[in-house]
C-alpha cells in the first residue's frame, strides 16, 4: 500500500544551525533525511512511521570526510560514492569502500 504524500511533512532549512535548532526544539520529533536510500524506500512501501522529516541534504558541513592522525570522521551527508572515491578510505579501509558498493 502506497503512502499518501499529504501525510508527511518535509522541511529543508538552509543551514546546519537552523536544522539543529529545529531538532532541539522538538526532540525526537523530526527524522533527518539525506540521500533517501532507506527513508524513501520505507515511504514508498507505506512503512515510514515518522511523519515529520527534515532534509539535511546540501549542508556542506555534513558532506566532509576529515582525516586526522588518529581517526577518520565521515559526515552524515556523505554518499556511498564519496566513500568509494576517497583515496585514504580505499587505502586504509578497503572493506568499507567495498561495502559502499
Amino acid at each position: 500500500v502506497r503512502a499518501h504524500p499529504a501525510d508527511y511533512e518535509l522541511v529543508a532549512p538552509r543551514t546546519l544551525p537552523a536544522v539543529l535548532s529545529l531538532l532541539a526544539r522538538e526532540p525526537g520529533a523530526w527524522l533527518p533525511i539525506a540521500g533517501g536510500t532507506d527513508v524513501m524506500v520505507q515511504y514508498s512501501a507505506g512503512r515510514l512511521l515518522s511523519r515529520k522529516l527534515v532534509s539535511i541534504w546540501n549542508l556542506p558541513e555534513l558532506r566532509r570526510i576529515d582525516i586526522t592522525a588518529g581517526e577518520i570522521q565521515i559526515g552524515a551527508g556523505c554518499t556511498y560514492t564519496d566513500l568509494r572515491a576517497h583515496e585514504t578510505i580505499n587505502r586504509e579501509y578497503s572493506l568499507l569502500a567495498s561495502a559502499a558498493a
Binding site: P5, A6, D7, L10, A12, T37, V41, S55
Partner: protein
C-alpha cells in the same frame, strides 16, 4: 487521491529540467520520479524497482547521477536536472545514443534511459573508459535483457567516437 485528514499543504517547487525552468505544485515528499513523469509528462525516466536498486530512474541533478525514485521533490528545489529527454537536440541523437543503437544495446528499453545517463556521467569524468571503468560506472544500473556486453561495447564505442567532447 483522497484528502488526508491531517493533510499537509503542497509547495511550490522550482527547478530547471533540460534547460527549462519548471515550477510544480506538489507535496514536498513526492518522489521526483513521479513528478517528472506525471506533472511534467517526461515519461522517458522509467520506474524499475522503486527501491533505488536498479538505476532505471536515473537522472542527473547538478551533474550528479541519482535515482529519482529516492529523491523527495523538495530536495531538487533550485537544482539543474537532466533527463533522457534532454540529450537529443533538434531531432538528432547524441553520439552516445547513436552508439547504443549501433551496438544493439537497447532491448526492452526500461533500463536504457538510466544506462545512457549513467554512461554520460561516466564519459564526462572518463572520456575513454576501459571495460573495468565502464563496469564500475554502470554498476548501479541493472539490465535484464542484454547480458550487458552490448551496453558496455556501446559505451566504449561512444568513448572512441568522442562522445564526451
Amino acid at each position: 487521491m483522497s484528502e488526508s485528514p491531517q493533510g499537509h499543504a503542497k509547495s511550490e517547487i522550482s527547478f530547471t529540467v533540460n534547460g527549462k525552468l519548471e515550477t510544480v505544485h506538489v507535496y514536498p515528499i513526492e518522489r521526483l520520479l513521479d513528478v517528472l513523469r506525471h506533472e511534467l509528462a517526461l515519461t522517458g525516466t522509467k520506474e524499475g524497482c522503486g527501491e533505488g536498486e536498479c538505476g532505471s530512474c536515473s537522472v542527473l541533478i547538478d551533474g550528479t547521477l541519482v535515482n529519482s525514485c529516492l529523491i523527495p521533490t523538495l530536495q531538487a528545489h533550485g537544482a539543474k536536472i537532466v533527463t533522457i529527454e534532454g540529450l537529443a537536440s533538434d531531432g538528432r541523437l547524441q553520439l552516445l545514443q547513436q552508439s547504443f543503437l549501433d551496438c544493439g544495446a537497447a532491448q526492452c528499453g526500461i533500463c536504457t534511459p538510466g544506462m545512457i545517463l549513467a554512461s554520460l556521467h561516466l564519459l564526462k569524468k572518463t572520456p575513454q573508459p576501459n571495460l573495468e571503468e565502464i563496469r564500475e560506472g554502470l554498476s548501479g544500473n541493472l539490465c535484464r535483457c542484454t547480458g550487458y556486453m552490448q551496453i558496455f561495447e556501446a559505451v566504449a564505442e561512444a568513448g572512441r567516437r568522442g562522445a564526451a567532447a
